[in-house]
């Protein structure tokens, strides 16, 4: 029964994913399409942070800096050097991944508050560079006129990525591939090594886990995902300025991960969807909405340490247990 249940869940997942690709054909308002795209970008960001903070246990407040590096790199490559967007996005992601080493290396020896403050300092340095390196980044004026990805002509069908619908398909595809890759990664040797570092660094070192390697790996992959998200954001919004990559953005990404549930794959997805929709729905509350947002973060930490994913996780366990028990009773009869 549990096996069947699991199989059903698997089918439901596949069905759900296929359904997601049909969203653009439902003629949603442009405003909703914008929210869907932003949810996808936030899922990439929160998955990256979740890898660093949730699985490896290195709480970082500098994630918006990686997001910004990705956005600026891709925008500048495509505008200044004329690199095709399809090439500049992966290049920006790889470049940001390299910056993961720049932050990860000094952070190897730090933990707890020292680590958080160091990453905060890194975030501020990057923001100040975006703001003051006027020759390259145009400073507070930001970069305008970033192009969308070049259209793809498949002969029978032509995708041009300047509409929200097609751009949504692109980011959705990237998100699904990322989530699939991450769920495989977490259940592999690498994932278990990362979790062991979070649980007890000394014990895992004694067990022969190469802590330096796995910590840096988490930072690089997390930065890579944030860079990818930044590049996708830049070519979607087509205007970037240092205002988009401030501390409060790092906090925002952290809130989404925490409320969704750190240290799970599904958590950041739930968190991104929940917080993004909540912030949009609460527009009626106007200025009160960000207060509610602070309260949500605070009460999640106190009352729901596992986040929303912990909540659904325990409910899910109960249901499958219930089904299992029924099955056993039938069997003994």
């Amino acid at each position: 029964m549990t096996k069947l249940f699991k199989k059903n869940i698997y089918c439901a997942q596949v069905f759900l994913i296929i359904m997601l690709f049909f969203i653009p054909f439902f003629n949603f308002k442009q405003y909703y399409m914008h929210i869907f795209i932003m949810i996808c970008i936030y899922i990439l960001l929160t998955q990256g942070l979740n890898l660093i903070a949730g699985f490896t246990g290195q709480l970082s407040l500098g994630h918006a800096a990686f997001y910004g590096i990705g956005a600026y790199t891709s925008a500048l490559l495509s505008i200044r050097l004329g690199v095709p967007v399809w090439l500049s996005i992966p290049m920006a992601a790889i470049f940001t991944g390299a910056f993961g080493i720049v932050l990860g290396f000094p952070c190897l020896r730090l933990k707890g508050p020292y680590l958080v403050i160091a990453t905060l300092g890194f975030g501020e340095i990057m923001r100040l560079i975006f703001l003051n390196w006027v020759k390259i980044t145009r400073g507070p004026m930001g970069i305008t006129g970033i192009m969308s990805p070049e259209p793809i002509n498949l002969g029978f069908i032509k995708f041009s990525f300047d509409t929200k619908e097609t751009y949504f398909l692109l980011v959705l595809l990237i998100v699904i591939l990322t989530v699939y890759f991450l769920s495989k990664l977490i259940n592999s040797k690498t994932g278990r090594a990362m979790i062991s570092i979070r649980e007890d660094q000394i014990a895992s070192e004694l067990m022969g886990v190469n802590i330096t390697y796995y910590k840096l790996f988490a930072f690089v992959l997390g930065a890579f995902l944030a860079g990818l998200a930044g590049a996708l954001y830049a070519h979607y919004i087509r205007y970037i300025s240092p205002d988009s990559f401030v501390i409060s953005e790092s906090v925002n990404i952290l809130v989404m991960s925490v409320v969704g549930g750190m240290g799970t794959i599904i958590g950041p997805i739930i968190g991104s969807i929940f917080i993004e929709l909540l912030l949009e729905y609460m527009r009626i509350l106007q200025e009160y909405r960000l207060i509610v947002y602070g309260l949500i973060l605070f009460s999640t930490i106190i009352y729901l340490p596992g986040g929303l994913a912990g909540l659904t996780g325990s409910a899910f366990k109960k249901i499958s247990l219930l089904l299992d028990r029924n099955h056993k009773i039938k069997y003994t009869e």
């Binding site: 508050p113 020292y114 300092g121 003051n132 409060s248 960000l290 602070g294 973060l297 605070f298 340490p305």
Partner: protein, 289 residues
């Protein structure tokens, strides 16, 4: 030029020292890194602003009132927000105080509006010229009042029974509890002192710059730089590195460009964390497994 920058640096440094003192005390005694400390500074500035600009109270009286109001606010914040966080793992307490900071920042935006406000006192425009160095009266007050507050705090911690209890709690929370010290009470007092100092800094510096809700973010990041430079939990270190950072920043701004002063501060932060995470004055503690 050099003396002018030195004087500016000392004044800026006295503010950094005041804010960082509270932050480092709260860490030393409660073991909590208070990410909402910048917000306490900002609320202090708004309390001072409201008292002087709206109720037309004399600036010095307003300063005293603002210090007392912030002490009460500190106790309330400790009771509502910090106490439930104290028993959680370290990462959770950090995230929790970040939540409190988001709450306060947006609460302030709601109440006072996002736009910068001018906080005028009669002393902002009056300048004094000593040996080629021009200072406004307000800046002189800022400097001397900060020094007085720091000395008072030092005497309080050294001489009084309560101060002794605070030192004991910072050395070992549980042992202090077993010796009959009401550590919950000490936690409240610590938070009250920390908020009062932040409030004093806000009311003092508000008239020199502008008062607006987002000032809390810059204050918080700078306070962290100071606290790390001096060693987390180290009171003397925080005072010294507060002044040191103020002087370094204003010299950088004077001789190079004001663009670089923040970058210099954060680079110092990263370098210290890389090579001497226990701070300039910290003793090297060998961590036992």
């Amino acid at each position: 030029m050099f003396f002018q920058q030195m004087v500016n640096g000392l004044i800026l440094g006295s503010q950094y020292a005041l804010i960082a003192l509270g932050l480092t005390m709260i860490f030393g005694i409660l073991g909590i890194v208070n990410f909402a400390h910048g917000e306490l500074f900002m609320i202090g500035a708004f309390v001072g602003y409201t008292l002087t600009m709206v109720y037309n109270i004399n600036f010095f009286l307003a300063l005293l009132l603002s210090i007392s109001i912030m002490a009460v606010i500190g106790i309330i914040v400790e009771m509502i927000f910090i106490k439930p966080l104290r028993k959680l793992p370290e990462t959770s307490t950090i995230i929790g105080t970040i939540g409190v900071s988001v709450l306060f920042l947006n609460g302030a935006i709601l109440i006072f509006g996002p736009n910068p406000k001018r906080f005028l006192t009669p002393y902002v425009d009056k300048t004094i010229n000593v040996a080629g160095v021009t200072i406004t009266q307000q800046r002189i007050f800022v400097f001397f009042i900060s020094i007085i507050l720091i000395i008072l705090l030092g005497q309080f911690i050294k001489k009084t029974k309560l101060g002794k209890a605070m030192r004991a709690t910072s050395q070992n929370y549980e042992a202090a509890n077993l010796m009959g010290i009401d550590t919950d009470y000490i936690a409240k007092i610590t938070f009250a002192i920390g908020s009062a100092l932040a409030g004093a800094a806000g009311t003092l510096i508000g008239p020199i710059f502008l008062v607006y809700p987002q000032m809390s973010i810059a204050a918080m990041t700078k306070a962290f730089v100071v606290v790390i430079l001096g060693g987390l939990g180290n009171v003397e270190g925080a005072i010294f590195s507060g002044f040191a950072l103020g002087i370094i920043e204003s010299l950088t701004a004077g001789y190079f460009s004001s663009y670089y002063k923040d970058i210099v501060a954060f680079l110092m932060l990263i370098l210290i964390l890389l090579f001497k995470p226990e701070g300039i004055f910290g003793k090297h503690v060998i961590e036992k497994v």
